[in-house]
């Protein structure tokens, strides 16, 4: 790890001022940033520890029923917050399907938004990666790309966004509240992440020095609580990133879908909101036929970026399943295996 200056910021403004120094990074939980520093992908000269900043660790309910989540709220604390889990159960489920209990205890909400792709070529400083070093090329394009993007990718980058949390957040119109040298602003999470295009190194809409201070979910999204799920396919039962995932939420009234929220994870450089599919479900009777139609619509523009054509079909199927589970209703208690297609095997006990 490169030597760096360590600065502990007492306030957001102090942090932002400190970040004027070139090659600075913010450090909160550290679960992604420290890892990237260890493997040489991030080599900052200055690390600004924002974890002690006052006032960023609260979950605040707005009068209208929306919620403002401080950027330093730990993933586990948010997922296990009773009111939050009742109001946004699929967001809690997504959080609990990510990483491990230890990582969730340390990782912050803001850090979750800022985590980098799992693309192995991004993680390997010896490989060419336009996202890591602008203009260096993309070794993933002709490389081992079984798990890479099928939507929104470009010849310059085929990486996917790894977050589970952000998938339902995007579906629920979450906003990112940032503070920067020029004041504060809100950014729609959907627009927070850039598609790679010809500038894959531009990962987010953050301007230099800008710091995430909160994530906000609007009140309207709380109406989906009775019918909201997050589903995630993995290569082992737990502690693995998504092959593909889907957040699906429905408002059903009088046997008809009034409103739908759908986003896919693991398929693109950003959590992929499927507004066309959402629109196709409005006023329709919920069921397999409608869900399959919506899923086909959502994946209509998908193309394999490599050995990953299966992900397109898988994304279709997981969307149908997630919508079906959402229709069946949010479980009364968090599933033992959050976001897993497997119900619990609780009965199985060891017999010597």
């Amino acid at each position: 790890m490169k030597r760096f200056d360590y600065i502990r910021a007492a306030s957001a403004s102090e942090a932002i001022a400190a970040s004027a120094h070139p090659n600075s990074v913010y450090l909160a939980g550290g679960t992604n940033m420290l890892d990237l520093m260890k493997i040489g992908v991030a080599r900052p000269d200055r690390v600004i520890d924002i974890s002690r900043i006052e006032g960023l660790s609260e979950i605040t309910w707005q009068d209208d029923g929306g919620v403002r989540i401080g950027a330093l709220v730990r993933n586990a604390d948010l997922a296990y917050d009773g009111r939050f889990a009742r109001t946004f159960p699929s967001v809690a489920e997504a959080l609990l399907s990510g990483a491990s209990a230890q990582v969730r205890n340390a990782a912050s909400v803001g850090g979750n938004l800022m985590q980098h792709t799992r693309c192995a070529y991004f993680h390997d400083p010896a490989s060419a990666c336009n996202r890591r070093v602008a203009g260096s090329g993309c070794d993933a394009r002709e490389g081992e790309n079984r798990l890479h993007a099928v939507l929104g990718w470009s010849e310059h980058c085929i990486a996917t966004h790894p977050s589970d949390f952000c998938v339902p957040l995007v579906a629920f119109d979450a906003n990112v509240e940032v503070e920067g040298p020029h004041g504060s602003r809100d950014i729609k999470l959907w627009e927070f992440y850039s598609l790679p295009g010809s500038t894959p190194d531009h990962v987010t809409a953050l301007q230099p020095g800008e710091l995430i201070v909160a994530v906000k979910i609007p009140a309207a999204s709380a109406a989906f609580a009775p019918n909201a799920r997050y589903l995630k396919l993995r290569e082992r039962t737990s502690f693995a990133f998504a092959v593909v995932s889907c957040a699906a939420a429905l408002q059903i009234d009088g046997g008809m879908i009034q409103s739908a929220r759908i986003a896919l994870g693991g398929v693109a450089a950003r959590p992929w909101r499927c507004q066309g599919a959402e629109a196709a479900l409005i006023g329709v009777e919920p069921g397999r036929e409608a869900f399959e139609k919506a899923a086909s619509l959502a994946l209509a523009d998908a193309h394999p970026s490599g050995d990953n054509a299966f992900k397109i079909e898988l994304a279709r199927r997981i969307m149908v399943r997630a919508l079906t589970l959402a229709m069946e209703g949010t479980p009364e208690t968090m599933p033992a295996l959050p976001a897993s297609p497997f119900p619990s095997e609780s009965g199985a006990r060891h017999v010597a």
Binding site: M1, R3, F4, D5, Y6, R8, L27, G29, G30, T31, L34, D35, K38, I39, V47, D49, S51, A76, Y80, A99, S100, A101, Q102, V103, N105, A106, T237, S238, F239, A336, L337, P338, S344, E345, S346, A348, R349, H350
Partner: protein, 165 residues
């Protein structure tokens, strides 16, 4: 640059000068404080061997900068037993053969204690398995680990009940 941190490690207040901000909590414990019970398996938060409690929460010590535990309380595997008295989780791991090589064991035990305190698993073995999945055991002692957590949780809540009575 040298930074000084104040921390309580296994109940003992310590003031520690850290001459290099790159030092992780894991390397602080292992290489500078001679608390080598906490193990390094991957150094990247991917195996759980370095799990310790920071202010009562289980975290990966490898992904924690030493300087960031300033003011915090750290509990490691060395801080559990009192003389010859084992913590119930430690005793249950022995009884259920919840380890083989023993290398992941300190992390498993600290994680199990964190899990029991978090109290999100109850006595459901499936929830225990899920919430212990951040601790890889390559020897494959998982069944014993799950049994040990179940038994230790029971023993600890009985103890609490009898203490309350």
């Amino acid at each position: 640059m040298s930074l000084s941190i104040s921390t309580i490690i296994n109940g003992e207040p310590r003031s520690i000068a850290i001459d290099d901000p790159r030092v992780s909590l894991l390397d602080l414990l292992r290489e500078r404080l001679d608390l080598t019970g906490t193990k390094k398996g991957c150094d990247r938060g991917q195996c759980g061997a370095c799990t310790v409690l920071v202010d009562g929460r289980r975290v990966n010590a490898c992904l924690t900068l030493a300087v960031s535990v300033d003011g915090a309380e750290v509990t490691t595997i060395e801080g559990l037993a009192r003389g010859d008295l084992l913590h119930p989780v430690q005793a249950a791991f022995i009884e259920h053969d919840g380890f083989q090589c023993g290398y992941c064991t300190p992390g498993q035990i600290m994680s199990a204690i964190g899990l029991i305190q978090e109290n999100h698993a109850g006595s459901d073995p499936e929830r225990i398995r899920e919430l212990m999945s951040g601790n890889i055991c390559r020897c494959g002692a998982y069944q014993g680990i799950t049994e040990a957590v179940l038994e230790a949780r029971e023993a600890m809540s009985e103890k609490n009940r009898s203490d309350a009575a």
